[in-house]
């Protein structure tokens, strides 16, 4: 996309000269670096509940964030008004942080490189509402048709289209158009007059609407949610204490996101408050484990052509054969740590300062047959799907809650168990990985990661793995 064709030039009449002037204003009190993050965001969502399309909502937000870096200091201001006087005011407020002569002389903006990972011709948000309404209706019907025990169905389809433009005092100007769509289905099942159980499924990515017609249909997600709820009707109490845990492929990769991903974000390591601080080159996992964060996978929810500081995203090796290789960097931390950026600077919106974040985090496949992994466990847990997770990056303790899991008895998957939280310690947990399957899968595209109040879309993935020791938070 060319600057002149962008919404910022065409609708808001911004010129390259304007951007250079605003950057100069931001550096008028000094400072090492400044950037402007322009965002034009369209959001929409449609919801069905009780077979009635009850909600349809749409939003427009536009704004610019101005940032000035001066040593370890950051000044930040934003405006939801793109008039020259309001942008200049934001630039002056952000400039307050710095003092003394600026290290930047003149700024001549040149177009920076970027990937083309989501060549979406028609963004879902540009399609007729009626075709998007049809998705939730189909999900509702399919879930109800799956089994008479399904008695409540809610489905939500949401998409957004984010136009971004980032200009920085290094002289780089980048633009991107980021579509994102997601369909999610929640159901309740009940048998006779027993207590209800829930099931959930969903997915999407940086895709066209045809993705939901051809690749992952509403029926696919609806059946998956219904199946999970029915399984849970027969669930028994979860065990408590340390045991062998087998994670199934795909979404259970949230383990990596919590156990190692957050702890490897460079801001925490620069400040030495992470359990992984100063541990590059050390063994933090069994040699079967290689963990990657990759923002360049086509059409994935966590992928980006450029990060929110204008850097092209990359494939970053976090752990290689069990050895910690590196951190996820943004501009500030990479400058202060004298290392290259990794394309990991992300933010929720123009109202937020960027920070190091994950994109799509996964473990490379190993050589074991997934069935052999299950057969190898005399007594343990087999976890197929999870709810959310969380980590304390300082002591390294992380949790993730199993929403569909089963007992393994004598090498066989037997009874489903009720929801339980699993807990472990980041730098230790992956040392107990004793088998890695050959069946790497990425998740369906539903993850949202929260950090310091900012939410961003992410992906995870993992093959089937066996962890010899992990604590399970059941009651039995």
């Amino acid at each position: 996309m060319e600057f002149s064709e962008s919404i910022f030039a065409s609708r808001f009449n911004l010129t390259r000269q304007d951007l250079e002037n605003y950057l100069a204003e931001a550096l008028s009190h000094g400072g090492d670096y400044a950037d402007l993050y322009f965002e034009y965001l369209l959001t929409s969502s449609i919801g069905i509940d009780e077979s009635i399309v009850k909600s349809a909502a749409q939003g427009v937000s536009v704004g610019v964030g101005v940032r000035v870096l001066s040593g370890e200091r950051t000044g930040y201001a934003y405006s939801d008004d793109l008039s020259p006087e309001k942008i200049r005011k934001a630039a002056r407020v952000a400039a307050y942080i710095a003092a003394g002569p600026s290290k930047v002389d003149t700024i001549n903006l040149k177009d920076g490189p970027r990937h083309d990972l989501y060549p979406v011709l028609t963004a879902p948000s540009d399609t007729a509402f009626a075709s998007r309404v049809e998705l939730v209706r189909r999900a509702d019907q399919a879930a109800r048709a799956y089994d008479p025990r399904i008695f409540q169905v809610q489905a939500v389809y949401a998409d957004n289209l984010r136009h971004v433009m980032i200009a920085n005092s290094d002289g780089v100007l980048t633009l991107d158009r980021q579509p994102l769509a997601r369909l999610s289905v929640s159901v309740l099942a009940r048998e006779n007059d027993g207590p209800p159980q829930r099931g959930h499924s969903g997915g999407g990515g940086r895709v066209e609407l045809s993705f939901f017609e051809e690749e992952k249909t509403p029926e696919h997600f609806a059946r998956e949610a219904a199946r999970e709820a029915l399984v849970m009707l027969g669930a028994v109490e979860a065990p408590a204490g340390e045991m062998t845990v087998v994670l199934g492929p795909g979404w259970p990769g949230i383990l990596l996101h919590e156990a190692v991903g957050h702890g490897l974000e460079a801001d925490f390591n620069r400040k030495k408050v992470s359990a992984f601080s100063d541990r590059v080159g050390e063994r933090v996992a069994s040699e079967l484990c290689t963990v990657i964060d990759d923002g360049t996978i086509r059409s994935r929810r966590g992928s980006l052509n450029i990060d929110d500081e204008g850097q092209p995203t990359r494939q970053n090796v976090l752990i290689e054969n069990g050895i910690l290789r590196g951190y996820l960097q943004d501009k500030l931390s990479s400058t202060l740590m004298h290392t290259a950026p990794t394309g990991s600077g992300r933010r929720e919106s123009y109202e937020h300062m960027p920070m190091p974040r994950m994109t799509n985090t996964f473990m490379l496949a190993g050589e074991s047959d997934p069935q052999d992994i299950i057969r190898s466990v005399p007594k343990g847990l087999y976890c197929v799907s999870f709810g959310g997770g969380q980590v304390d990056i300082t002591n390294g303790n992380f949790v993730f809650s199993a929403s569909e899991s089963y007992l393994i008895e004598d090498g066989k998957v037997t009874r489903p168990i009720r929801n339980a939280t699993l807990i472990g310690n980041g730098p230790e947990a992956l040392k107990y990985v004793s088998m890695v399957g050959n069946d790497l899968e990425l998740d369906e595209g539903i993850g949202v990661c929260g950090k310091e109040g900012q939410s961003v879309p992410v992906g995870v993935g993992i093959p089937t793995i066996r962890i010899d020791r992990m604590t399970v938070g059941g009651t039995a």
Partner: protein, 450 residues
């Protein structure tokens, strides 16, 4: 914009929606200014300052609805806002329970609710930075083992909120708050732990002293050092007030009217029944001046009120907006909540467990072997079934005293049993947010460990 301008805008949006063919309409206009200063290792780390505005409209066309929001308040932006909402209403279905509140239900409580303090707007930047710096220095100076820090922050927010609907309701109020927090890191040998403490108030004068915030955070981090992972066992579990709040938050999720009508809550259909021990009384009250869950009216224009949710263990009321009330054949409790637009959801006012008579020390003193939880981790609460399983850390209770730090364990039970088995309620209720609880003791939970 002045309050008058915002109010005029809201009324204008409603008028335009009716002119475009809506049978009813509601409009929210909000404006806010935020400021944030972070200090780390005694030095200023970041400053953030900005303001924003937005408007949202929800139109009803018969029994169909459409909702839009925008940050573009220009005449063109407003025209698009209304036109898009009308278009959206045409793709939704008729929902027989949709509608605005009845005229008799609308209104606003009068009097000064203490939601806005002028002092917040006039604070000098240097004072705000210095306040954060004092908190962090107090944390760092508490003990030589506090050798690192994630910093201290001072934040302020001031805003205006306007709501108008086509049945003649129009109300506006101003809010402010400021907050101070510190996150020190304690380290000794191989053990590294962080914790936080914060103070939140409507005005600067209401904040705890920075030195108290910093030293409290430091003491909390220090007492977590060198934790043990205990063996798996069933014991009494005491929740300190900060984590008892999250337990009470789960109770809110269970009396949430939308979850109730969908049978998504383990408390659905149980009004009038015993759902907790006699020691438990739970109140939702959005009328207490100065508190964080207080407002003159809810997000449908219904006056705020006090609702007894659980009285001495018996479930008395759910929390409802107009929609959930109609679904359940009840009256709204004034708990409608939403952002700029959308069908109203349900929120709480000040949602709290009434204080009991026992001091926290006395509760701990009565336990021979148990777990005093100071942090929970995760999302392992299932409101449909009541299953509760969370990561936890805290201090082990041995012979009535806090004996040693514990972490990397889980606590699990079912919320139904937890509230029925809640056998001690502390006298230490403080409102540090819109959900509040004193120290709570659960008779027995499973601790998952070694």
């Amino acid at each position: 914009m002045s309050q008058n301008h915002l109010t005029e805008l809201a009324v204008e949006v409603v008028k335009r929606a009716l002119a475009a063919g809506a049978t009813d309409a509601e409009c929210t206009v909000a404006e806010g200014e935020e400021f944030s200063a972070n200090v780390r290792m005694r030095e200023l780390e970041s400053l953030k300052e900005a303001g924003s505005r937005g408007a949202g409209v929800r139109v009803l066309v018969g029994k169909r609805t459409g909702s839009t929001s925008t940050s573009d308040l220009s005449p063109d932006g407003i025209a698009r806002l209304v036109a898009s909402a009308m278009e959206l209403a045409s793709v939704t279905n008729e929902d027989p329970h949709v509608g605005l509140p009845d005229p008799g239900e609308m209104g606003s409580i009068s009097g000064d609710l203490g939601l806005y303090c002028k002092d917040v707007a006039g604070l000098e930047t240097e004072l705000k930075i210095e306040t954060a710096r004092r908190a962090e220095i107090a944390a760092l100076d508490t003990d030589p083992r506090i050798s690192n820090s994630e910093g201290a922050s001072f934040d302020t927010h001031a805003g205006r909120h306007v709501f108008a609907n086509s049945r003649g309701f129009c109300g506006a109020y101003r809010t402010s708050y400021c907050s101070l927090s510190a996150v020190p890191v304690a380290r000794e040998g191989d053990s590294m732990e962080r914790d936080y403490w914060d103070s939140l108030a409507r005005g600067f004068a209401g904040l705890e002293q920075p030195e108290k915030v910093g030293s409290t955070a430091a003491r909390r981090a220090l007492r977590r050092l060198h934790p043990t992972k205990v063996a798996t066992q069933k014991v009494p579990v005491v929740f300190e007030p900060r984590v008892a709040r999250s337990l009470v938050g789960s109770l809110f999720d269970a009396v949430h009217g939308m979850a109730v009508y969908r049978h998504q809550s383990f408390l659905a259909g149980r009004v009038g029944e015993r759902v907790a021990s006699e020691k438990v009384t739970v109140i939702d009250d959005a009328t207490i001046p100065g508190l964080f869950g207080t407002s003159p009216f809810d997000d449908e224009g219904v006056p705020s009120r006090r609702t007894v949710v659980i009285e001495r263990g018996v479930l008395k009321s759910y929390l409802l907006n107009c929609y959930a009330a109609r679904k359940l054949g009840l009256k709204t409790t004034g708990n409608a909540s939403r952002g700029l637009t959308g069908n109203a959801g349900i929120g709480h006012g000040n949602f709290y467990v009434e204080k009991g008579v026992e001091s926290p020390d006395a509760i701990i003193a009565g336990i021979r072997n148990g777990f005093y939880v100071t942090q929970t981790q995760g999302f392992g609460v299932n409101i449909v079934t009541g299953d509760y399983s969370q990561g936890a850390s805290g201090l082990w209770i041995r012979d009535g005293e806090l004996a040693f730090a514990v972490s990397e364990v889980t606590i699990a039970a079912n919320l139904k049993d937890m509230f029925l088995g809640l056998d001690a309620v502390g006298s230490d209720l403080e409102f540090r947010g819109s959900v509040a609880a004193p120290t709570l003791k659960i008779g027995e939970m499973t601790v998952g460990g070694k």
